[in-house]
Amino acid sequence: MKVKHIKLFLISVSLFFGALFLASCSPSQAQASKPGALLWGENCVRCHNAPSPSAFSDSQWEVVGKHMRVRASLTADEVDKIVEFLKMAN
């Protein structure tokens, strides 16, 4: 039981400080102003070739965006800009 309590305590403390940390994080001005095309070029190639905008329809890009947001741990701002760029270039 003791080990379980210690585990629970450590998890609670980690979540508390993690939440505080997340709340205090923000992108720099330069990062925040990056356009979708740049973010598309920078983030997709970390794992695979950058996709062609014509690979999917606009509504399909919405689904792909959600999928990659989870898979690649992208932020909401990054995904929104990338999907917007892909839809515009489609």
Binding site: K7, I11, S14, G18, F21, L22, C25, S26, P27, S28, A30, Q31, E42, N43, V45, R46, C47, H48, N49, A50, P51, S52, A55, F56, S57, S59, Q60, E62, V63, V64, K66, H67, R69, V70, R71, A72, S73, L74, T75, A76, D77, E78
Partner: protein
């Protein structure tokens, strides 16, 4: 098999039928690969596998994803569930995932293993099935990406059923491999959930470099066995650097990962001489891979080429019946037909030094040539 395919077709049709005109919530994606391999005197066509991925965007906050692996092995079609989970987007920087998911234990198993993403036809030593470290499991996960000024970090914390110890007492689970961890077992073998996580940093403003640290801890012994309190600590360190290099007129991609597994010491039954024996139960595997694609050479043909090399090592514990030290070199040339379709020609050679518990050492070469095609869809 026919029933499974009919169910899949039915589900696909049902999901598609629920969509309003012009609005697509369902998406069928995936990848497939096949090829021919030459090993020693044997030449054979292999693969014939495909992995459909089902995506369903329930709302702006809810996503369901599932992947099947359909393989043709030994004359039979084998279907496996890679993952099936629901993601709930809590806020800009946090997503909750429930179900069976690819574990962020390093990056190879969670991001880089699909045939159209993996630059070589084979996987690094210790990163395939029965490797060092888990690839997927059932549980709950909190994950996300967070901006840190010009840099960025990603995080994941999760609780899963966790690995199980092969304690050698089940004759159906290779008793000669007592002490080895078994992954992706479905149900938990004890009441203890394993806890793990990964933190990665992308220190450069263009996100070209990523360094990740992963850990997983939990009890692994079967409940009500003498191994019940046995625990294991697993860790991984991964590195990635992808960047255009102007003087090379192309893109350089470097990937590396180290996996380690430490299981508490215990005594196991030796099936070869009916004695009990123990050993320091530590395993590790790592790979380093570099690829170069000359995308700015001016010629479409040359721009579509890619050159790749990889070194990998695998080490299972000295003194165990399954002890082994292996090394592998792999080199390849790829030709990209488009951004998600590739033909891969590669050559690899390996030293599989199999050490018996008595101390005898054997060396076996394992040279192979692969010609594979792979595509994502």
């Amino acid at each position: 098999m026919r029933k499974v395919l009919l169910v899949l077709l039915f589900l696909t049709a049902m999901l598609s039928a629920q969509e309003k005109p012009g609005e697509s919530r369902f998406l069928l994606r995936g990848y497939a690969h096949s090829g021919i391999e030459v090993r020693g005197d044997e030449t054979t066509f292999v693969g014939g596998s495909f992995n459909p991925i089902f995506l369903w965007r329930q709302s702006d906050k809810l996503l369901f994803e599932a992947e099947l692996e359909v393989e043709y092995e030994n004359g039979e079609t084998v279907i496996g569930l890679e993952y099936a989970n629901m993601s709930y987007i809590i806020n800009d920087y946090a997503t909750l995932r429930l179900g069976k998911f690819l574990l962020p234990f390093g990056t190879f198993a969670s991001k880089l293993h699909p045939a159209w993403i993996n630059r070589l036809s084979s996987k690094p030593l210790g990163f395939g099935h029965d490797g060092v470290g888990p690839a997927r499991d059932l549980g709950v996960e909190l994950r996300g990406g967070v901006p840190l000024g010009d840099a960025k970090m990603t995080y994941s914390v999760y609780m899963i059923n966790g690995p199980a110890l092969n304690d050698g007492t089940n004759p159906n689970v290779e008793p000669e491999e007592a002490g080895m961890l078994l992954y992706d077992r479905g149900e938990d073998n004890n009441n203890n959930k394993a806890i793990g996580g990964r933190v990665s940093f992308l220190p450069l403003s263009n996100s070209s470099m990523e360094i990740g640290f992963s850990g997983l801890y939990g009890k692994v012994g079967n409940v009500e066995s003498k191994y019940e309190d046995l625990a294991a600590l697993l860790y991984a360190v991964d590195f990635s650097y992808v960047s255009r290099v102007s003087f090379l007129s192309g893109v350089v991609d470097i990937k590396a990962q180290l996996n380690g597994v430490n299981v508490d010491d215990a005594s196991y039954f030796n099936v070869e001489d009916s004695s009990n024996y123990s050993f320091a139960n530590q395993s590790s595997a790592y790979y380093v891979q570099m690829s170069y694609r000359p995308v700015n050479m001016g010629s479409d043909f040359i721009n579509s080429l890619e050159f790749v090399g990889r070194y990998s090592e695998l080490s299972f514990p000295d003194g165990a019946l399954w002890s082994s030290d292996q090394t592998q070199y792999a080199f390849g040339i790829n030709y990209w037909l488009d951004w998600r379709t590739v033909v891969k020609l590669s050559y690899q050679f390996a030293d599989t030094g199999v050490h018996e518990a008595e101390g005898e050492a054997g060396e076996a070469s394992n040279d192979a040539v692969f010609l594979h095609w792979a595509f994502g869809f």
